[in-house]
């Protein structure tokens, strides 16, 4: 373990600059934020990619910046800044080419050394993150940190405001950047054009959404205030774990069975205050275009009418898997609720209930530098509500002959500090840790 007093020197020589679109976007180009976008304003996505020295051979930071300039010609919305409408105070994005913040750093460990002792607090050194505000027009929405390790390998740390888009958008963004690095011609897509809300009718919904809830007004500093300190930890699920799960739970997908397992474990930890409702997010198969930017993920709310802590895993898994998307998809409800007062109320989604996010189809390992995939791609959420959130994403599996101990999934949990210790014990009991 690295002694704490060395942490502030672990990643040093931070140099900040800005990278924007190469072409002029034009004056008075505005991207309106929908109700769903505004629900996400207190959430931020953090993504870290680790690359070996071989993958970045012959590549300089200047090359990376240059590729970013070309990428941002299409993604100029990410280079804008938040402004509030003069009449209603509703936030929107002014596409003024201000740019994303580019941070360069140096670390004295090698990539392998880092990965051995990788944990959440250490990983925060690789992602330069600042919340939006208090000066909205001068707060970048995206930060990209490139850290150079002793061995020549690098890490890419992206901090992304969730109002711009979901984790699938982030993955698309980074993958497209990889294509620009390889000088592959990338087609720009109309899906990246700015949105104008002037003519859309406000959706009607009969009831309040379960998966998003109101929070106190945060004003111009978009930081979520938790009632307790949140802690993040992660663990791997190996082939052996999965086959054991498969034996217990029948014909559901790996994600659904992992969800069921964790739901029950957390319910046991929170005895008396079990989470009866969970939120499950996954990619919308209709929005499959690799250029899509936006909050398009399906948000489902699943309610258990029985005690979760003592329930049968099969029953839970079936409940999660069988619920029809159309019935439980809450996106319209959330949109309607936010639009009721024109986006003036502040909402959260992640952590309003225990939230599970399925990043299986996010294409996390499609990014290639010099033809090589990242050693590790890790996503997490900054700004999770008190109920907690779980991200589940696949790890790259190597050889065809899968050995039992090979990690297949990475599970990243953000929960109140007090519950983490008990949960770890519970997971040990279930032979997962």
């Amino acid at each position: 373990m690295v002694p704490p007093q060395q942490d502030h020197d672990l990643v040093y020589n931070l140099r900040l600059s800005s990278v924007g679109p190469g072409c002029v976007t034009g004056s008075d180009v505005i991207h309106d934020l929908s109700g769903l976008d505004l629900t996400m304003k207190l959430h931020y996505l953090k993504a870290v990619y680790f690359f070996s020295s071989h993958a970045v051979e012959g590549l300089t930071v200047m090359n990376m910046k240059e590729a970013m300039f070309y990428l941002l010609n299409d993604y100029y919305i990410t280079c804008g800044r938040i402004k509030r409408s003069e009449s209603s105070g509703r936030p929107y994005i002014k596409c003024n080419d201000c740019g994303i913040r580019f941070v360069e750093g140096v670390c004295d460990e090698t990539v392998d050394e880092w990965l051995e002792t990788d944990d959440d607090s250490k990983r925060n050194l690789l992602v330069y993150h600042r919340a939006i505000g208090p000066e909205l027009p001068f707060s970048p929405l995206v930060y990209l940190q490139v850290t150079l390790f002793k061995c020549g390998g690098i890490s890419l740390g992206l901090s992304w405001a969730h109002i711009l888009g979901d984790a699938f958008s982030v993955s698309n963004f980074i993958n497209n950047w990889g294509q620009h690095m390889a000088k592959v011609n990338v087609n720009s897509s109309p899906a990246l054009a700015p949105r104008s809300l002037t003519n859309t009718a406000k959706p009607e919904a009969p009831s309040e959404p379960l998966s998003a809830k109101q929070v106190n007004h945060v004003g111009d500093l978009w930081v979520l205030a938790n009632n307790c300190k949140m802690e993040t930890f992660s663990f791997n699920l190996t082939t052996k774990h999965l086959s054991n799960l498969q034996a217990k739970i029948g014909s559901v997908s790996a994600f659904d069975s992992i969800c069921a397992l964790l739901w029950r474990a957390i319910a046991k930890v929170r005895e008396g205050f079990e989470p009866q409702i969970i939120t499950v997010c996954r990619k919308d198969p209709c929005h499959d275009d690799s250029n899509v930017l936006g909050n398009n993920q399906i948000i489902r709310s699943i309610k258990a009418s029985f005690l979760v802590g003592e329930s049968d895993l099969n029953k839970l898994a079936t409940l999660i898997a069988n619920d029809q998307d159309q019935v439980c998809d809450e996106r319209n409800k959330i949109e309607a609720a936010v639009e009721k007062d024109n986006g003036c109320t502040d909402y959260i989604m992640y952590g309003s209930n225990l939230t599970f996010v399925n990043l299986e189809n996010a294409g996390l390992y499609e990014l290639e530098l010099n033809g090589e995939k990242p050693k590790l791609a890790y996503y997490s959420i900054q700004g999770v509500g008190d109920e907690g959130a779980v991200l589940i994403f696949p790890l790259p599996h190597g050889s065809a002959a899968e050995n039992e101990g090979e990690p297949r999934y990475l599970v990243n949990l953000t929960l109140p500090e007090g519950q983490v210790f008990k949960l770890k014990a519970e997971l040990k009991r279930a032979a997962l840790l």
């Binding site: 140099r15 190469g22 002029v24 200047m62 300039f69 201000c98 740019g99 001068f138």
Partner: protein
């Protein structure tokens, strides 16, 4: 009087007067020739032959007359100054990675000057009214928060700008490095050892007997000073090529303090450079783009106020910056007047000079209250390249010289697209006129530059051949967007 002078009748009177005075020689010659012709016709061929016979020429007289004519012709051709041709020139186009949009400049400004909101506010007001566009470029070192202007970064910028421009020039003209006889580099604020001209000689392996010069500290008008120097050298050295490189290196000179008078250059100065090939070789006269007609240099440094109006100094905190005084525009106006007084007689047609002389005499003798006559320079020149020092400079000159919007279009659009690139801005403006397809054979161009000191320098070029719209060059990818309307105040 004003109503009368606006009338159409007076306009035609003016036109008639100009035609009369400017072609006076032709107009007096025609009656004389007519008279001679009538006389000849009257005499008849026989009369002419008898006239010829009565002149009694003998051999000695004829030979002496011939020698005399040949002698005068030789003296004339020997003492005629060599024609200096501008074969071609190349301007540096910065890469998109150096682009600085308004919003980015302001955000960085707020972060760099976080303790001085008033200075940030000042910069924002300057930028809004500057006339710059969203595509101007700063070197990579200045993009950092805070900027990291090391000497290495400055040399890096110099290499990129100068070598790009020179590579482009060599390619366009087919010039071989071994054929460069004279090299003049001017860069006002960055003067390392070895000099930038030595850097160029090293990179391109130029000859060991090259005549190289490096001009520093001479401000934004140094470009024309270099042209003047090249011209003088080319008078002395026959059959030679001279390469002039004009640039300004921004990296080491970005002001990092908070004094308002010194923050102004940060808002206006941008990356740019140009390389020009001049030659006195006879073989170049067919493919050269322009011929140099006049260079007029005016220095007002003897006046203390003029000397101090653009002054590099340290502020209270020890940050070095260039302080611009509030009388800058007034001093520029004075310098321009001086320059015009010298260049006027050289370029103005006789009609304008006569009018000016008459009004001058009138003011001295009859009534000092008569308004001084401002000669109409539009009759002397087809194109104007006014150094894009800032919007105020262009506005002032447009007013003083009574130029139309189209005449100053090249200057305004260069300021918008490239910012104030110091000594090379005149070449971006020439390039704009060529890109618009307006440069025709015989067109006269007037380049005016102002610089610290305080100097006002002018150069007059005559277009040697009609120039087709170039396919490359700094304006190639954006000329169709120009001219753009530049608002008084841009809303940031």
């Amino acid at each position: 009087m004003p109503h009368f002078s606006n009338s159409v009748q007076l306009k035609y009177v003016k036109l008639g007067y100009q035609y009369l005075v400017n072609h006076i020689l032709t107009l007096t010659l025609i009656p004389v020739m007519a008279g001679v012709l009538i006389e000849v016709l009257r005499l008849g061929p026989a009369g002419i032959v008898s006239l010829w016979n009565s002149l009694h020429f003998d051999l000695v007289q004829i030979l002496c007359s011939c020698f005399f004519i040949i002698f005068v012709a030789t003296v004339y051709f020997m003492s005629k100054p060599r024609s200096i041709y501008l074969v071609d020139y190349a301007c540096y186009k910065p890469p998109v990675t150096c682009r600085v949009p308004f919003a980015t400049f302001m955000e960085h400004s707020r972060l760099n000057l976080s303790n001085n909101p008033k200075s940030v506010e000042f910069q924002m007001r300057i930028l809004e009214r500057s006339g710059l566009g969203e595509e101007t470029c700063l070197p990579p070192a200045i993009h950092y928060i805070p900027p990291t202007p090391t000497m290495e970064a400055a040399r890096g910028e110099a290499e990129i700008v100068i070598f790009s421009a020179m590579d482009s020039l060599f390619k366009k003209t087919g010039l071989k490095p071994k054929d460069v006889d004279i090299l003049i580099v001017n860069c006002s604020l960055f003067s390392p050892t070895p000099s930038l001209s030595a850097m160029v000689i090293n990179k391109y392996k130029l000859r060991s007997n090259i005549k190289s010069f490096n001009l520093s500290g001479m401000g934004c008008s140094a470009g024309l000073i270099s042209i003047d120097l090249a011209r003088d050298l080319l008078q002395v050295h026959p059959n030679s090529n001279a390469v002039v490189v004009s640039t300004e290196i921004i990296t080491p000179n970005y002001y990092q303090g908070k004094e308002r008078a010194m923050l102004l250059p940060n808002c206006l100065f941008r990356m740019g450079g140009a390389a020009i090939l001049l030659s006195n070789r006879h073989s170049e006269r067919w493919r050269a783009k322009y011929r140099l007609v006049h260079v007029v240099r005016t220095h007002k440094g003897a006046d203390d106020k003029a000397y101090r109006c653009v002054f590099e100094e340290e502020d209270k905190e020890g940050n070095v910056g260039i302080s611009l005084s509030k009388d800058l525009m007034a001093i520029a106006g004075e310098a321009l007047k001086s320059n015009i007084t010298t260049i006027g007689p050289l370029v103005l047609p006789a009609s304008e000079q006569l009018l000016f002389l008459l009004t001058l005499i009138g003011r001295k003798i009859f009534n000092p209250k008569w308004k001084p006559y401002i000669p109409d320079f539009k009759q002397a020149f087809e194109h104007f390249c006014i150094h894009a020092g800032g919007r105020a400079v262009i506005d002032e000159l447009q007013k003083n010289l009574q130029l139309s919007a189209e005449h100053v279009e090249a200057s305004r659009m260069t300021l918008h697209r490239f910012g104030n690139t110091s000594s090379s801005s005149l070449w971006y403006e020439m390039s704009y006129i060529e890109a618009k397809g307006r440069m025709k054979k015989g067109d006269r161009v007037w380049q005016i530059a102002f610089g610290s000191g305080f100097k006002c320098n002018s150069a007059v070029w005559k277009c040697n051949r009609t120039i087709k719209t170039p396919k490359d060059g700094p304006w190639a990818d954006c000329i169709q967007r120009y001219p753009v309307h530049i608002p008084e105040v841009v809303k940031l």
